[in-house]
């Protein structure tokens, strides 16, 4: 008893802080193509090894290898590349627009573009995604009008959300994109409810839910997994593990000795851990989970292993809490570069076409911005004040009617 060491209070720390060398040496990055691909309809009990693997398709030479190769047509791959590149170009441009004082807030998806783009293209038009703010590539892949995004980001008179919502917290029902909110994790359960409604109504609309690795610590995540499991909901439940939740590293969400995908095991769900910077792996895992869900086998939990290459938002400076060059050391590379190399390896793409596409997308974004700026940037144009009082209820009650008059709207 006397020799027993005192109790230790443990507070975890990331591998490196500013001033230290960026290090991902703690990560095990297996070669592409090694992970087995069970039948999509197999029992979850037969695949409890998968959450501890890392499903990768693209190898170091840009070749698609192994059983998870989805054998996508080059045209499909080019659509994916275009969506990812558009997301990158749009983000970079709008980030600068924020710095010019034309809007209040912006968030980039840099480094994570493969996830929304691949899933958007793999899933059906009637499927519904319940997004986070870092899967804008879903909308870009489905051709959401850039100018409407710009209007929303400027909260101007043409804002489809009528000036009521923070920039990029879109809603786009016709594009399978559920209303975003700044509360983390709260829509995970909506996705499960949506999926249950699809099963009840037999509408064949899968729900695709996103949460960050940080907000898997929220109760919403665990309650949603319980409901998804209990009612065998046709849902694809995704965790985008981008390593950082503002300044909190992934270890603070409690997986130092496990993985986020492994959370699935306790709920009796299949859990896949997927290279989120590998467009082909994302598409393949999503197809697998969709096939399973449509066959009434229920939900799959997928952890997309990726890296938030930019700051959390325009209000964040990541060099305050992580090494400034950490992104350059990320071992899974850049998703756009990797898909580009794959297409080039297939002889379906080249540097000239890539440069031309980049210029074309930059021109598209510039045109949308010009059109948005012509209506007005934040504060220079806004929807009619009456919009502030609309949509609180289906029909306004007397308070809102009186207050609208009082506000002079």
């Amino acid at each position: 008893m006397a020799n027993r060491p005192p109790l230790e209070f443990h507070v975890p720390e990331p591998p490196a802080r500013p001033g230290q060398s960026a290090s991902f040496s703690h990560l095990v990055v297996p070669e592409a193509g090694l992970v087995r691909r069970p039948d999509a309809l197999a029992s979850a009990a037969e695949m409890r090894d998968l959450p501890f693997e890392l499903i990768r398709v693209l190898d170091g030479e840009g070749r698609a290898v192994g059983p998870w190769d989805p054998h996508l047509a080059p045209e499909f791959l080019r659509r994916g590349l275009r969506a990812m590149l558009l997301t990158r170009v749009f983000d970079d441009r709008l980030f600068r627009v924020h710095r010019q004082g034309k809007t209040s807030f912006y968030m980039k998806s840099t480094g994570e573009e493969a996830i929304g783009a691949a899933q958007s293209l793999v899933l059906e038009p009637q499927d519904m995604c319940f997004p986070t703010y870092r899967v804008m590539s879903w909308l870009h892949a489905r051709g959401y009008p850039l100018v409407d995004m710009v209007h929303q980001i400027f909260s101007n008179a043409r804002d489809p959300l009528r000036g009521r919502q923070l920039p990029i917290l879109f809603s786009a029902r016709d594009y399978g994109f559920y209303s975003l909110s700044g509360n983390l994790g709260t829509r995970y359960g909506h996705a499960v409810g949506w999926a249950m409604a699809s099963a009840y109504r037999q509408t064949d609309s899968l729900a695709l839910a996103y949460t960050g690795e940080g907000s898997t610590a929220e109760g919403d995540f665990h309650e949603s997994l319980t409901f998804a499991s209990v009612y065998r909901a046709p849902a694809i439940l995704c965790i985008t593990n981008n390593q950082w939740a503002i300044s909190s590293f992934a270890g603070l969400a409690g997986t130092r000795d496990s993985t986020f995908a492994a959370r699935a095991i306790g709920y009796g769900l299949p859990g896949l851990r997927v290279d989120g910077n590998d467009f082909l792996a994302v598409a393949s895992a999503t197809r697998w989970a969709a096939e399973r869900a449509r066959a009434n086998k229920g939900a799959t939990l997928i952890e997309f292993f990726t890296y938030r290459a930019a700051g959390h938002s325009t209000s964040d400076d990541p060099t305050r809490y992580r090494p400034g060059d950490e992104a350059e050391h990320w071992p899974l590379g850049d998703p756009i570069e990797r898909l580009k190399q794959h297409l080039i390896a297939l002889d379906e793409w080249d540097e000239d076409r890539h440069a031309a596409l980049t210029s074309e997308l930059e021109a598209e974004v510039r045109a949308a911005l010009r059109e948005g700026e012509a209506i007005g940037t934040l504060g220079r144009s806004k929807p009619p004040l009456s919009e502030m009082f609309e949509g609180v209820f289906a029909e306004p009650d007397w308070r809102l009617i009186e207050q609208r008059v009082e506000a002079g709207a």
Partner: protein, 338 residues
């Protein structure tokens, strides 16, 4: 016409809605096979099937989140939270999601859900089976809050709530399930038998949300109440012989401001009664509204009779509960204060 007690009237409303609308689903803890701890869903699963009325995990936030997602696709879920005291884990879903969804999505998505929950005291339920949280929901714009006081209203308001495209918190005064309890806990308890409010028609009918009922017309003082307190107020009026006008609000959001203002202007006196604790309670809002709109018509200051600002105490249930004696004292004070 047949008479039903309040819990049977609620069961009847759910039964009717399951029959007429395939988009209505009922779920919650113990509501399926067992029929609910208060029997509100008794027999519904047997009659309408497991897919229409089913049990859920013990996860209030998950229950409401699921309902919102279902509602967003077009269903009309009617989740039950077993006691209003247990609704707080779902507060974020109700406030940040259900109440905001239509607004923030520019009308693309909304949550036509009706959250049923037994509330209020008088059953020796202690802190965790007795509270009255209506004011915290009334404060959340985007939510409607409905509280019936008779079986007839319970059925009609519940059907109106289910058919409403906004999220509705439907609070059931559980002390009224079996009879029009007037606060005299030490006397023979009345059942709903013979009460005019217990006559419940068959089939579908609605009582509109936002329309108060003048349950006793009078000229001298206006009493505003809802839920169990309607019956307590009526008893106090009877016992004092004061010619009070008792207004049953029936829903606090939307609020029938016209009926309230007309009555207060007519009588010039007002007593507000609720079971919830006083500070920050809904009575404060009612008092302000009347002061703003009827100041020059008022003869005396507005009185509030409410639960004390303590947690709901077990042994002191009847000291805490704003019974007919306290309401009668308030009525006498406003009449003496000429």
């Amino acid at each position: 016409m047949r008479e039903l007690n309040m819990v049977k009237a609620i069961n009847d409303a759910l039964d009717v809605m399951l029959a007429v609308d395939p988009d209505v689903l009922i779920f919650g803890q113990d509501v399926g096979y067992f029929g609910g701890v208060f029997r509100a869903t008794d027999g519904l699963q047997a009659r309408h099937g497991q897919k229409r009325c089913f049990d859920t995990p013990i996860a209030e936030s998950g229950i409401i989140a699921t309902a919102i997602g279902m509602g967003a696709q077009g269903l009309r879920p009617v989740p039950e939270i077993q006691f209003a005291d247990y609704i707080l884990p779902a507060f974020d879903q109700l406030v940040s999601e259900a109440a905001r969804l239509r607004y923030r999505s520019g009308g693309e998505f909304w949550a036509p859900i009706t959250v049923r929950s037994p509330y209020g005291g008088g059953i020796f339920g202690g802190q965790t089976h007795s509270q009255s949280p209506e004011a915290i929901f009334a404060h959340i714009t985007g939510l409607k809050t409905v509280i019936p006081s008779t079986p007839y209203d319970a059925k009609g308001l519940l059907i109106a709530a289910i058919e409403c495209d906004d999220p509705v918190i439907y609070l059931e005064p559980k002390r009224l399930y079996n009879g029009p309890f007037d606060g005299h806990h030490d006397r023979q308890l009345a059942t709903w038998a013979g009460h005019p409010g217990a006559r419940v028609p068959e089939g579908r009918y609605t009582v509109p949300l936002g329309k108060a009922a003048i349950v006793r017309p009078g000229d001298d003082v206006t009493v505003l109440a809802y839920g169990t307190m309607v019956h307590v107020a009526l008893a106090a009026v009877e016992e004092t012989g004061i010619d009070a006008e008792v207004v049953d609000l029936r829903s606090i959001v939307p609020l029938d401001i016209e009926t309230i203002v007309a009555s207060a202007n007519k009588t010039g006196r007002c007593v507000i009664v609720h079971e919830a604790s006083r500070f920050g309670g809904f009575g404060g809002e009612l008092s302000s509204l009347i002061q703003e709109r009827c100041f020059y018509g008022l003869e005396v200051p507005i009185e509030r009779v409410a639960g004390w600002d303590t947690p709901y105490p077990h042994a002191f249930e009847w000291d805490y509960f704003p019974g007919p004696g306290r309401v009668a004292s308030a009525l006498r004070r406003v009449m003496e204060n000429d």
